[in-house]
Structure formats: C-alpha cells, structure tokens
C-alpha cells in the first residue's frame, strides 16, 4: 500500500470516528445551578428596585433633582448675554463673500434686494 493510499485510509477512518458516538451528559446539578443564577439575577433587580421605591429615598431623589434644576436656573439667570456683534474676522470674511454675518439679524429681504 502506498503512502497516499494509507493517508486516504486514515482520512476515511477519521471521518467515520464520530459514528456511534454517545451523547455527552450534562452536569446532574444543572437545574440547581440555573435556579441559583436566576435567583441571583432576580435579587439584584429586587434589591435595587426596593431601595429606590422606599418613600424616603424616592422623596430624597425628587427633592435632589428639583434642587439641581433650581440651582441651574438660578445660576444661569442673567449670565447669558445676547451676542450683538459678530467676530471681526467673520465679518471680514462675510463682506468678502457678500454674506450677512450678523447672528441676531436675519434680514432676508434686504439681502435679496442687494
């Protein structure tokens, strides 16, 4: 028998070696492990939900959110100044290309008339 034939024989035998293979058996405690995982998962949700839904915690969260909003409004009131002039560089560029660069004046009629 030549080596090529021997190799072909090996290939055939290898391809047939799964014939009659038995089914691998799962862990006998698989259900217990699944149950434990599901309980752990449920516990995490339960614990976080029960913590958030405690009246004291819920009220504290609402008060905190309102306080942060109030502070943000108070902090920003009067600090925002309207921009009345455009950047000189931008104006220059706009003039060069014949474009209105003002941010507070959208005078479309005059623009089209020009």
């Amino acid at each position: 028998m030549t080596s090529k034939e021997k190799i072909q024989q090996e290939i055939e035998q290898t391809l047939q070696c799964l014939d009659g293979a038995k089914r691998a058996e799962a862990n006998p405690f698989l259900f217990t492990r699944i149950k434990a995982r599901m309980d752990r998962k449920a516990n995490v949700w339960e614990r976080s939900f029960s913590f958030i839904s405690k009246p004291a915690i819920a009220v504290a969260i609402v008060v905190m959110v309102m306080a942060v909003n109030g502070w943000a409004l108070w902090d920003n009131s009067g600090t925002i100044e309207p921009i009345t002039t455009a950047d000189p560089n931008v104006s220059e560029l706009a003039n060069e290309y014949n474009v209105v660069a003002s941010v507070d004046n959208y005078d479309y009629e005059n623009l089209t008339n020009e």
Binding site: S3, Q13, A24, L30, F31, R37
Partner: protein, 191 residues
Amino acid sequence: MINETELIEQLKQGDETAFKTIVEQWKDMVYNTILGIVQNETEAEDLAQDVFIKVFEKISTFKGDSKFSTWLYRIATTTALDHLRSKKRKKRFGFLQSLGGDGDEKESIPDFHHPGISLDNKERAAVLFKAIDGLPENQKTAYTLHKLEGLSYRDVSEVLNTTVSAVESLMSRANQNLRKQLEEYYNKHYK
C-alpha cells in the same frame, strides 16, 4: 406523565416544576449540541445554563409552529455560535494589544476530547474536532447536528430554517473541507 404541550403551557404560567422537568428532559441534548460547537466543557455548561434561562424568559414567544426540540436546538446553536463570535472578537483584540505590548505568548488550542467517544477513537476524534472547528459556521452547525446529535437532514433543515437540499449541499461542502484539512494534517504528520 405530562405531555409536551401541557408542560409548555405550564411553563408559560411560570411553573417551576414544569421548568425543572424541561431542563431534566432536554439538558443532555442542549449540552451535547453546544459542546460539539464550542468544544470546551466548562463553556458548554455555562452556555447550556444560558439556553435554559432564555427558554424560561422567552417561552411566551414559542407559538408551537415547530417542534419544541427544534426551537430548543435553534436557541442552543445560536447561543453557541454567538459565544464563538465574541470569543473570536476578544482574541483579535488581544492580538492587537499584543502587537503594541509585551505579548509574544502564542495561545495553543488544547485538543478537545468528546466524552461520548470511545477510548480507541479518542486521538482520531481530536484531529477531526480540530478540523470541524475550522469549518464555516453553518457547515459546522449542520455537521454537529447530524453527526453528534444524529438528526436527519430534514430535522437539521428545520433547525436551520432551510431546505433539505440546502442541508445536503452544506454537508457535502463540510465533508469536502474536512477531507482537505485532514489530508494536510496527515501529509504533515503521517510517516
């Protein structure tokens, strides 16, 4: 003994006893399918747990259009293939990291020994499993379901949601690819 339909109805109601019966009845089938695809016993056990948790959570979506076992095979094969994809992604990321750093360690994949193979075929089967691992996903799934789970081409086609002739073609291509890989292996190792 409760029949399959009743069992599924009870599981839809969240019955734990029904769930336990389902796990006990189908755990070997799920585990063996996953093991054939991922070729690692620890990972296969974790994934089998994932499959049954999915079954518990998604049983309401099972309409009974196909057999329950077909539905279960679909979840098992999808879960196993998803796992392999994410493992491959991590490996690629690890490779990129090793290019930039201290990684000159090359991971060698250990031989996989399926517990259902007889001792005298063990080494031969390890060679075959390595070749199966190199098959494209759909060929690997069809081959595993047919060879390890003993499903007919019709059953495989139902799991893969395709036609019998498509499965025949998948199996023929899988055999061709395996022959090619085995020929390379034996040319290198056979003296």
